[in-house]
């Protein structure tokens, strides 16, 4: 009966319109649908440049840390400085302390206000617990607040109901020396699911320019839980907790006041912290939804730059409301409090040593269906911060649906990056300048000084995007943008002065933080997802970014990522991932090295995955295969270039 009905279909050729309503229910239950894992994408109707990295993509790419997975998205620059330091940004302005990207894990911000950036090494989390990573390029200021200037990365973990049972995973290799993970998930009664997890990761160091070991191996331990509870039909509560402890070793070239004036030192850094987060969602009617979230985060870090403790408390409220047939309104309030404490440190001093800063914000967004095919979104966020007072971030978006399988969107947005503690009240000693006659033959130190006048950086961005899909096997997403920055961080040399502590007496050449730079850049991003065969999928991402040559040129012009995933058999898969990063012509560093050029690089990762039994997964991965060592990036200060080595590792994962 089945073959008889289908012969008509195949005779007509694939893709011809077939009336499935002629089939009986028994036959319908046997009909095979195309492409197993593509869910209806809710983001197809988003008027923004969104790319979603799924749990499967992460697994196929063979990465062992979330930072590597970000390379799959167009528009994201991911550069590994050394074994534990990364420089990650969206659409330019990269650096260890890249400050134009907001990163969140389950709605909790991991952006540090001390230096305006993200310490990626402490975000090394269990990849198996990640459900997806949403990469939103372009200003997210209206929804996500200040510091989402060039984009937002939202890492979302799996609900506890999807990680039931036990799981143990062991990874070992030459660079990934040992990564051991254990997880257990269960139920509490009928309405709650939980999971507990622990992870220990130890990684080998990179290689110094001469070929010797750079000594920067490191380890990070982490553990935590997630609880998802459904007390009533309309309420859901999620509680998350996480604790981490890391021992890091990071090479820096630091100023000393005695010869040799700038010396390499292997910083033995420690970082530890914990966070707890609770979220409650309530459907109050068929048209409305409320969400309330509270989190508390505590972090300690001690390295050559700081000896600090930071506590964050965040309270967030959001209300979604459908108004009539055509409108959807989202609005919310947020309160965040940072309490920090800086002790004495070798390179940076912050005055006052302790400070409490508060942030209040209100946002609202209205999405109106002007016609069946045209949708307008208007939104704004108003924020008050202790350094620059009131800031507002409006945006306007338009989404047009020319056909069922195409979308065109455009957006104009404004975003703001608020000052960090270091830019307002810090003094950062960068390098030693050897004795000079004008300094009475004393050595001097070049120092970045914040004198309380630093203002917020501003961006106005214009974006246009196009999205299309054909059947279930091909989708294309294209975005082009123009960014206009004002008030960008600049430094102005001030009058040199003398100081006598710490000994020996020395001069200081101050560089005061100002906002005198304006800059603009433009570019395009393309993502294509194609399944030419049922068992073969190809994901392609291309980024193009043009920055003004006379300004700092620290981004590659082109980046390409190509991931090929092939299911050889039901239990065997083979993945090949190539990515290319173009040359970085003149990366400015505030170090004796001056401007650094980084050659274009081509990286290849190959992965073979085997599932001998339903509960066992084995894989063998080779990353950075084309070069035994390669320079990817350097830190923008205290620069000590090291190279990243070829890595081969095996992984064993058992679920029970």
């Amino acid at each position: 009966m089945l073959t008889a009905s289908f012969s008509a279909a195949t005779a007509a050729g694939p893709g011809a319109a077939v009336d499935l309503t002629q089939l009986s229910i028994e036959d319908l239950m046997q009909v095979q649908i195309t492409s197993a894992t593509k869910q209806a994408q809710p983001w197809a109707n988003t008027a923004a440049a969104v790319f979603v990295i799924t749990a499967d993509d992460i697994r196929r790419s063979g990465v062992t840390h979330v930072m590597g997975a970000l390379r799959l998205a167009p528009g994201v620059e991911v550069a590994r400085i050394d074994s534990s330091r990364w420089a990650i940004t969206i659409r330019g302005f990269n650096g260890r302390f890249a400050n134009k990207l907001l990163v969140m894990i389950d709605g909790r911000s991991v952006y540090t206000p001390s230096f305006s950036g993200v310490y990626w090494e402490i975000q090394d989390m269990s990849l198996d617990n990640i459900e997806r990573i949403e990469v939103i390029r372009g200003p997210g200021g209206s929804l996500w607040g200040a510091n989402a200037v060039n984009g937002v990365i939202n890492i979302m973990t799996k609900p506890a109901s999807e990680t039931q049972g036990g799981m143990v995973s062991v990874t070992a290799g030459n660079e990934e020396r040992a990564i051991v993970e254990a997880r257990y998930g269960g139920k509490l009664g009928d309405t709650a699911h939980y999971r507990l997890y622990g992870r220990y990761a130890e990684r080998d160091g990179s290689v110094a320019p001469g070929g010797q070991d750079a000594g920067d191996d490191w380890n990070l331990q982490r553990g935590g839980f997630r609880l998802d509870w459904q007390p009533t039909a309309r309420d859901s509560v999620t509680v998350l907790g996480d604790v981490y402890d890391g021992d890091l070793r990071q090479n820096m070239v630091i100023p000393t006041l005695t010869p040799p004036d700038n010396q390499r030192q292997l910083d033995q850094a420690k970082a530890n912290g914990s966070s707890v987060q609770a979220r409650w969602e309530h459907q109050n009617s068929s048209t409305g939804q409320l969400a309330l979230q509270l989190y508390y985060q505590q972090e300690e870090r001690s390295d050559l730059m700081q000896s600090s403790e930071l506590e964050t408390l965040d309270l967030d409220f959001q209300h979604n409301l459908k108004l009539g047939e055509r409108q959807e309104i989202v609005w919310g309030l947020n309160y965040r409090r940072y309490q920090d404490q800086f002790g004495p440190a070798t390179l940076v001093s912050i005055m006052p040593e302790a400070r409490t800063t508060e942030l209040f914000s209100l946002f609202a967004q209205d999405q109106v269906a002007l016609t069946e095919r045209l949708r307008l979104t208007l939104g704004a966020k108003i924020e008050h911060n202790d350094y620059t007072g009131w800031e507002w971030q409006p945006n306007l978006r338009l989404l047009w649906q020319p056909s069922d399988t195409q979308r065109v969107w455009g957006a104009v947005s404004r975003a703001v990056r608020t000052p960090s503690r270091a830019e307002e009240e810090g003094r950062t000693n960068l390098t030693t300048i050897p004795p000079l006659p004008e300094m009475g033959w004393m050595p001097s130190v070049l120092a970045l000084i914040g004198n309380g006048t630093f203002d917020a950086e501003k961006l106005t961005a214009y974006e246009i995007g196009y999205r299309t899909w054909l059947g279930q096997d091909f989708s294309l997403d294209f975005t082009t943008f123009y960014n206009d920055y004002k008030n960008l961080q600049s430094v102005e040399p001030g009058t040199p002065f003398l100081e006598s502590t710490p000994l020996p007496p020395h001069g200081v050449f101050p560089l005061y933080f100002h906002n005198a730079f304006t800059d603009d850049n433009y570019g395009a991003e393309l993502a294509v997802d194609w399944r030419p065969l049922e068992k073969w999928r190809v994901q392609f991402a291309y980024s193009y970014l043009w920055s003004r040559p006379e300004q700092k040129n620290w981004s590659p012009l082109n980046q390409v990522s190509l991931l090929s995933s092939w299911e050889i058999r039901d239990d065997l898969e083979f993945d090949a991932w190539i990515y290319y990063v173009g040359k970085i012509g003149s990366l400015p560093t505030l170090s004796p090295l001056g401007t650094v050029t980084i050659d274009p690089r081509l990286n290849l990762t190959l992965r073979l995955g085997w599932r001998p039994r339903r509960d066992l997964e084995l894989s063998l991965v080779g990353a950075n295969l084309l070069d035994d060592r390669q320079l990817e990036y350097v830190q923008e200060a205290y620069t000590f270039p090291v190279e990243i080595e070829r890595s081969i590792y095996g992984q064993f994962k058992w679920s029970f």
């Binding site: 195949t10 499935l20 009986s24 649908i33 039909a233 054909l470 059947g471 030419p532 049922e534």
Partner: protein
Amino acid sequence: MTSGQASWRLAAPWRCWLMIAAHLLLGGLVLGQCGAWAGEFDEYAVKAAYLYNFAKFVEWPPGTFATTDAPLLICIAGDNPFGAALATLSDKTVENHPVRLRHMPTAGSLAQCHIVFISRTEQGRFRAMLEKLDDLPILSVSDIADFTRAGGMIDLVEVEQRIRFNINLSAARRARLRLSSQLLKLATIVE
């Protein structure tokens, strides 16, 4: 996502050749997949056909239809994921009732519908919607995860690249809908 559009998958004979070439390049592994690609269909074309079948195998309480040839309303609540796949239903008839389709983005006046399909975009709101439909003789269908466990009547799930359905019988009984035994024996009964 619409059926009837040219797919960007390679046509059957070319797929076989490409697979053979790919396998030869890697030392010849067992094929065995070429013949099975007889036909694959768009997920929502299959779900639309299911809606039609449900209409055929469900009996509404007497008095639900004003006349013997009053239209049978199938409503989509939320964004419409079917695209052109619903077009195949628009000229059908079930027991003399012509099938009519309505798209209700805000689920405003669902009370007049006979079948309501709740789309995934309503994931955050559907429970409140089900409470409104409670006790009304309306068949609720969806592909939102755990729909039947949350009180919905029929749940469409993907199992090994096929669409299967689960039925929450007590929810259907409360609404005084009678589901044909032909439907019940093929479904997984959730409760």
